[in-house]
């Protein structure tokens, strides 16, 4: 779905710099950011943290039938990445020939996610690359 300009603008810090949150009470890290810690609820104390972008592949798939806005990218690898701080994220894995496995180390890279029509907005965010690739 085409994302609105205010929504994209609002999410810039999280999507550009992997800015998430962590609960000081239980230590659990969350990405995307949360206002309350679901485990500690009112006893929780949320602070902002910047994720390193290093992690491992927890599960992966190759998308052959893409949603609107991703037609030119398909087929592409999509994965659940476990970040080294503990939180997991959904993201594409790019610049790889398909040798992705569960457990493969990866690192976040800054990329174009979607592009509206030629005159429209460019939506940026994170994708991942295999950490061993140069």
């Amino acid at each position: 779905m085409k994302e609105s300009i205010p929504l994209t603008w609002r999410r810039i810090p999280e999507r550009y710099t992997l800015l998430g949150t962590q609960c000081e009470t239980c230590g659990k890290a969350y990405f995307p950011p949360r206002i309350i810690c679901p485990q500690c609820r009112r006893k929780g104390k949320i602070k902002k943290i910047k994720f390193s972008g290093r992690g491992k592949v927890y599960s992966y798939t190759k998308i052959f039938v893409p949603p609107e806005g991703f037609e030119k990218q398909a087929p592409y690898m999509l994965a659940v990445i476990e970040l080294e701080e503990g939180a997991r994220v959904t993201a594409q894995i790019v610049d790889t020939c398909g040798d992705v496995k569960i457990g493969s180390p990866v690192r976040a890279v800054f990329r174009i996610i979607q592009r509206d029509d030629p005159e429209g907005l460019i939506h940026y965010g994170f994708k991942f690359r295999l950490a061993n690739d140069t």
Binding site: M1, E3, L7, R11, P32, Y58, S59, Y60, T61, K62, I63, F64, V65, P66, P67, E68, F70, Q73, Y76, L78, A79, V80, R88, V89, T90, A91, Q92, I102, I113, Q114, H123, G125
Partner: protein
């Protein structure tokens, strides 16, 4: 219910009215006794541009000024509507309640529909980044294969079995049997899920009538008791869950349901489960306690969930073969179990079925609704 399928000649209001009238006729009531209604629809606003469907339904079913309320919980909208109706009758507020589920999906193209269905997941943190629903279930399938050696043949066995059942159901979208080769050689959608691992895009509606047990005996048809109605929530995004190989919402909702009904998984004679993708049925039969975690794939391949097996699953054909008009699916599951418990399921009848279960999932598992139905003794 209506036949599920590509109902080009029928609109949203035609289908919901047809299903409602069929349910009223089946119960043998006139319609004037109806005190209230609940209707489940996931995305009528984006699929056909129509909101306010409670009012539409009351109007077109000739039920004005009876209050009818729409309920939404993605693909679990239908059984959520049933649960609202159940609670309204159980509380004593109303006696006779009509519950419907409906979706009109084929007026749009596949890409548009898939994008709309994506709204059942996390729009900002899954769909925006390139996820699709087949993609999310593929992530679960890959992990299930990694942890339990589940194979593509095991996934395919679910589709083959459900088509075999759907071929015996006159309401099903696809009434044809398929072979394992057909599934394994079908087009890849999201590796390892192929097009024949996926439920289709469907139009359809289903409806049921609820009444207090002591009153239901006076109706035309043999009533069926709802002995458990439960619902559980989990994180909206798949990646936020502890595990990807099962749905915690389904495990919790079913555990509470068994307790409510005072029975165990082994007491279930027939079940309708949410096989939006083949892996979903494998996880469901594990989450519901019919098989141990990790053994659902093997059980499916061995035919233990077939019509002749120890626990027949998706006798209607499931979402795969009967079709998946998202808002209608949960109510269709109830209708199928009612027919099974009354002995009206024809060629797909499970012998001596006395207790049945429905398992209806919203999104990738953020909502699960469970109902257990029992023959009145």
């Amino acid at each position: 219910m209506t036949r599920f399928g590509e109902n080009w000649e029928k609109g949203f209001r035609d289908m919901v009215t047809e299903a409602g009238i069929n349910a009223i006729n089946d119960a043998g009531i006139s319609g004037e006794e109806i005190n209230a209604g609940f209707v489940g629809s996931m995305a009528s606003g984006t699929l056909i541009g129509q909101e306010h469907i409670g009012a539409l339904l009351a109007d077109y079913m000739g039920l004005n000024p009876t209050p009818i309320t729409r309920v939404e919980g993605a693909c679990a909208s239908g059984s959520l509507a049933l649960r609202q109706g159940f609670m309204a009758v159980a509380s004593g507020l109303y006696d006779i309640v009509v519950v419907g589920g409906v979706e009109k999906m084929t007026d749009l193209g596949t890409t548009e529909v898939s994008t709309i269905l994506g709204g059942a997941g996390d729009q900002e943190w899954e769909l925006f980044l390139g996820a699709t629903f087949p993609g999310l279930y593929a992530l679960m399938a890959r992990r299930h294969m990694y942890e339990f050696n589940t194979t593509e043949e095991m996934l395919a066995a679910v589709a083959v079995k459900n088509h075999k059942n759907g071929a015996k159901n006159k309401y099903a979208q696809y009434q044809n049997e398929i072979t394992m080769d057909t599934v394994l050689n079908s087009k890849m959608v999201a590796d390892p899920l192929k097009i024949m691992d996926c439920s289709p895009i469907t139009d359809g509606a289903a409806a049921v009538i609820l009444a207090p047990s002591e009153m239901a005996g006076s109706f035309k048809k043999e009533p069926v008791n709802i002995v458990a109605s439960t619902q559980a929530s989990d994180t909206l995004a798949l990646h936020s869950r502890e595990t990807l190989t099962g749905l915690k919402s389904a495990q919790i909702a079913s555990a509470i349901a068994y307790k409510q009904a005072g029975i165990a998984p082994k007491d279930i004679d027939v079940a309708e489960v949410h096989d939006c993708f083949t892996i979903a049925e494998i996880m469901a039969i594990e989450d519901l306690g019919f098989f141990k975690k990790g053994e659902g794939g093997k059980a499916s391949l061995e035919g233990r969930t077939s019509l002749e097996g120890e626990i027949p699953i998706n006798t209607s054909g499931g979402l795969k073969s009967c079709g998946h008009p998202v808002g209608a699916t949960g109510v269709k599951q109830i209708a199928e179990i009612v027919w099974q418990l009354r002995g009206e399921a024809g060629k797909r009848q499970v012998k001596n079925a006395e207790t049945g279960l429905t398992h209806n999932v919203g999104g990738s598992g953020a909502t699960t609704v469970i109902h257990i139905l029992q023959k009145q003794r």
